[in-house]
């Protein structure tokens, strides 16, 4: 038995308790990105065990060239044109494989370079978007001088206001020093780019989901309490009862739907992060395996498709995705977490006003708007993944043609299987 006021105080206390539960989770996931994507290149590339495959492939190709020479001589001797034509074609293929082996033997520097080049093409656009974003307050004219008022440079998204008497920053400095997560960093290697993308997806995408899941859960918790509240007016066992908030179901359903979508959001972002981790660590093995298999005429198709997958998904896919993850980062840094629904509102207003606002007023509108903005993050990221995937997929088909796996293209296998 307790008083109504005690109940409300308890409910408000419930709302405030879990406010930082997610901090450790995000930190763990971001660390996971850093530990899973190590070095400037994939570990598989620098591993001593696999680099021997290049040597083996080289020996195989040279052996194949020798065998083809003997076959050509036999075909010439017996006058079999089909043998001569076959060996000629195979010799060209072996020379092509030799070129690939030489490229691979030179390390994946070319892959990193190619990826950096493609990805950096997109960065100038992101840089411009970030510079013109309204979240930034105009910079002071002189960098390094003393600010005369707090209205100078500050970064709204990371809540670092300029302080009177402190050092002024230019807009660029503010972005890089005060709020480094929204700065645009040029890519210099594959590892760095993959790490940046993974941490962006976790730090901004997963964070958006978690930042909204917990308040949504709290909101549902409170709404359910209100919904279940029954007022008794039955003195001496006779009278009536009524539930003043029994009609909260529509609101509860909306918040429940949002909660489900936020769970999916987390799954999508975690999924993309794992896709990147998987590609970074496994696809270089495809390259080496592809070179090895491509050395034999009969396994050329498998080898060609492996190399095609490597080029399209290790180099092109992340290069196209990179600007999108930066865009998400910039947006998230400037808009911040969307959790306008009433974990905060209910805690700071009287309970009845908050509920009234939810059902009839601006809080509900604000909630729906905030939800739409949150989902917009996912939309942009999914569009990025789709664009990157489509281009990479198209490239796989084209490269399959070039590298000796024509079925990738002619049979449209990928789309059929999907």
């Amino acid at each position: 038995m307790m008083r109504k006021e005690t109940l409300i105080v308890l409910a408000v206390a419930f709302l405030l308790l879990p406010s930082s539960v997610h901090a450790g989770l995000l930190s763990s996931l971001t660390n996971f990105c850093n530990t899973s994507i190590t070095g400037s290149e994939s570990a598989a590339v620098s591993s001593g065990g696999i680099s021997g495959v290049v040597t083996i492939s080289l020996v195989i190709v040279l052996f194949m060239l020798m065998a083809l020479g003997i076959f050509y001589a036999l075909g010439y001797g017996f006058g079999i044109d089909s043998v001569k034509n076959f060996t000629k074609t195979e010799m060209m293929e072996s020379v092509f494989t030799l070129v690939i082996i030489i490229l691979v033997g030179a390390g994946l520097a070319f892959a990193s370079g190619a990826m950096s080049f493609v990805a950096n093409l997109g960065l100038s656009g992101i840089q411009a978007a970030a510079s013109s974003f309204s979240g930034y307050v105009p910079a002071p004219q002189v960098s390094g001088s003393t600010c005369s008022s707090s209205s100078y440079v500050y970064e709204t998204s990371c809540s670092v206001p300029g302080t009177a008497g402190s050092t002024c920053y230019t807009q660029q400095e503010a972005r890089s020093q005060l709020c480094p997560q929204s700065s645009v960093i040029a890519i210099s290697g594959a590892g760095g780019a993959y790490r940046t993308m993974c941490t962006n997806l976790v730090g901004n995408g997963v964070a958006t989901g978690i930042n909204n899941i917990i308040p949504s859960m709290v909101t549902l918790f409170v709404l359910n309490i209100f919904k279940e509240t029954t007022v008794y007016a039955m003195p001496y066992g006779m009278g009536f009862t009524f539930q003043p908030f029994a009609g909260l179901d529509p609101v509860i359903n909306i918040v429940q739907s949002q909660l489900n979508i936020y769970f999916v959001v987390i799954m999508i972002y975690v999924g993309i992060s794992f896709l990147l981790i998987f590609i970074y660590n496994v696809f270089p093995i495809f390259l080496y395996g592809g070179v090895l298999l491509r050395s034999f005429p009969w396994t050329r198709a498998a080898g060609g498709s492996l190399i095609a997958f490597f080029i399209a998904f290790y180099i092109i896919f992340p290069a196209i995705l990179y600007p999108f993850t930066l865009y998400i980062s910039t947006l998230n840094a400037n808009i911040g977490a969307i959790s306008s629904i009433s974990a905060k509102n209910i805690a700071t207003q009287s309970s009845y006003t908050a509920i009234e606002g939810l059902v009839f007023g601006a809080a509900m509108v604000s909630e729906i708007q905030g939800f739409a903005e949150s989902v917009g993050y996912i939309g942009v990221q999914i569009i990025g993944v789709l664009i990157a995937f489509l281009i990479s997929y198209d490239l796989v088909e084209v490269l399959g043609d070039v590298l000796g796996a024509p079925s990738l293209h002619s049979r449209n296998l990928l789309s059929k299987m999907i």
Partner: protein, 345 residues
């Protein structure tokens, strides 16, 4: 269950390790007979002045010689694959051999590529089963959350005038989500289990299909059929297990690295910890030690599982299909087994 797979994987090993005892004499004798027959046709066509027949016989003799070469290539492949320990010599240094598949306690002891692939797939499936079970148990436990009723019905000193409400201490909406997750995981798991069955039969398919294929390729009228079988044998017997060892090896090692144990005492501790934390999330979840690390481990583990259930099977089957189509085109009749399978289904 594992013993069944193991028996299936090794019961045909004599085909692989001693092929010359079983079918090589027959294949060589057949080749010699076919060459002799074609030589007679060639001589006969020379006597009768039928140039086209002579050229035809000459080309066919070349084809038979090529088939004999294929037999030798097959011997080389067998020697290569039986001499390499893929666990320790190939995938071990790359850190792609999960601990469940290495060492004396490995579920499959063989170091050949087929055994390692079966072990990788089996380990992954066990991890997924454990994950599904854990999610089910978490959902089940959450359904036991007691609802607490609180109220005061003695306002103004009058019994029966007051207010009460009910509080559910479990995290709202979580039960619905676990239901969706279980549906998705169990559906995807079917594909994963299917892969294990195919892999367990990889050695069988490789041995038998290669045997029939090489012998069939010697005879003129069954040449294209034989070539297709050879393509299918290499695709399902070597390329597919190779891809499984790479992709699922990485996923299994990654799952182990998350440090999440979903068997025995580890599972009990995890399920207890996370349900306890979720029960009390709204009532002081911060006080539960390690809640964030438990959730992070769970997300990482589930991420690897999702990768292995959705993307990796597609990728592996696609590459195998491409190989079989192009390889069968090169050595025999074009065979698109995935389309055939899809049409049959």
């Amino acid at each position: 269950m594992m013993i069944d797979y193991f028996v299936l994987a090794t019961s045909v090993s004599s085909f692989l390790t001693s092929p010359y005892n079983y079918w090589a004499p027959f294949a060589f004798a057949s080749a010699a007979a076919v060459i002799a027959l074609l030589a007679i046709i060639m001589m006969f066509s020379s006597f009768t002045g039928r140039e086209r027949m002579r050229v035809w016989a000459k080309v066919k003799i070349y084809d038979v010689i090529f088939s004999i070469m294929l037999i030798f290539v097959f011997f080389v492949i067998i020697a290569l694959f039986t001499s390499i320990n893929f666990k320790t010599q190939v995938f071990g240094p790359l850190n792609l051999t999960p601990s469940d598949c290495s060492g004396p306690s490995a579920v499959v002891s063989g170091g050949d590529i087929m055994s390692l692939a079966v072990c990788d797939m089996y380990t992954f499936n066990q991890n997924v089963i454990n994950l599904n079970t854990a999610i089910f148990l978490i959902g089940l436990r959450m359904s036991f959350a007691p609802q607490i009723g609180i109220g005061y019905t003695n306002f103004f000193g009058i019994q029966g005038v007051g207010v009460d409400t009910k509080i559910s201490p479990s995290a709202p909406g979580f039960e619905t989500f676990t239901g969706y997750l279980l549906d998705a995981l169990y559906t995807a798991f079917v594909i994963s289990q299917l892969q294990l069955i195919i892999l367990a039969a990889a050695l069988l398919m490789f041995s038998v299909l290669m045997l029939i294929g090489i012998v069939a390729r010697i005879f003129v009228i069954t040449r294209s059929f034989g070539g297709s079988l050879i393509a299918l044998a290499i695709g399902t017997g070597i390329i597919y297990p190779l891809l499984v060892c790479i992709t699922y090896g990485y996923i299994n090692v990654g799952m182990a690295k998350t440090g999440l144990s979903l068997t025995g005492a580890g599972a009990i501790a995890f399920i207890g910890g996370i349900t306890g934390a979720l029960f009390t999330l709204l009532l002081g979840g911060l006080g539960v030690p390690g809640l964030s690390s438990l959730l992070a481990q769970f997300l990482q583990f589930a991420g690897y599982a999702g990768m292995g259930l959705v993307l990796v099977p597609l990728l592996n089957l696609l590459i195998v299909d491409v190989f079989v189509i192009d390889f069968s085109s090169a050595v025999g009749e074009r065979m698109d087994f995935m389309s055939l399978l899809a049409n049959m289904i």
